[in-house]
Symmetry: C2
Subunit: 117 residues, 2 copies
């Protein structure tokens, strides 16, 4: 049995973890991009190809979101030796760890639609 102080610390740690997850995976585009890369995992996902295939995303947002995903080790960026230069993005092995979170959000959201109708 934990004492009060340990309970408090554990609670703070969990709250910080939730903040981290929502900051890194939340927002309008992050999971959208991760899912797209995962659904096209055997393709050469260049910047332009991703932008064409994700409906509504601007170059600015795609660039910004990919940078943040790369910083968090969820995707890799590889400059290809083509003319003109293309840049290929891919989900990392570690990036696959977001899919349980993705699934729990999907599951809850789908069920919630049933619940409130």
């Amino acid at each position: 049995m934990q004492n009060i102080e340990e309970q408090y610390v554990s609670c703070e740690r969990e709250l910080a973890a939730i903040r981290d997850s929502l900051e890194i995976l939340g927002g309008k585009w992050k999971l959208r991009i991760m899912r797209h890369l995962n659904n096209h995992i055997n393709e050469n996902n260049t910047f332009k190809k991703i932008q064409r295939e994700i409906d509504g995303i601007s170059a600015k947002m795609l660039s910004k979101e990919l940078q943040e995903l790369e910083i968090n080790l969820l995707v890799t960026r590889k400059v290809m030796d083509t003319r003109p230069v293309t840049v290929s993005y891919a989900i990392t092995q570690y990036g696959l760890s977001v899919f349980p979170v993705n699934e729990s959000l999907v599951k809850w959201g789908l069920n919630h639609r049933e619940q409130i109708k």
Copy 2:
């Protein structure tokens, strides 16, 4: 095996579900409040008591967030027959369904701290 159209619909449904989940459970306070109500489930959680115990939350935000949680059937609001009147909030049975999502966010966030350090 699904055809292309069915895949597309399923993908749109899942993306909408993620948007719903993040809209209803995301933000700075929603899960914070749900966790608090769950941790104090046998107590009389009045507005003032919740506000005292959740560090940093303003009356405005607490009021707004509780209203939205109530609309989504996640908490109940009960005006008590006391002087002066108090209002008691409680998590619903359905509200408990957020904890698997909560757990997956906690788990991913905790692991991510390890991963990037």
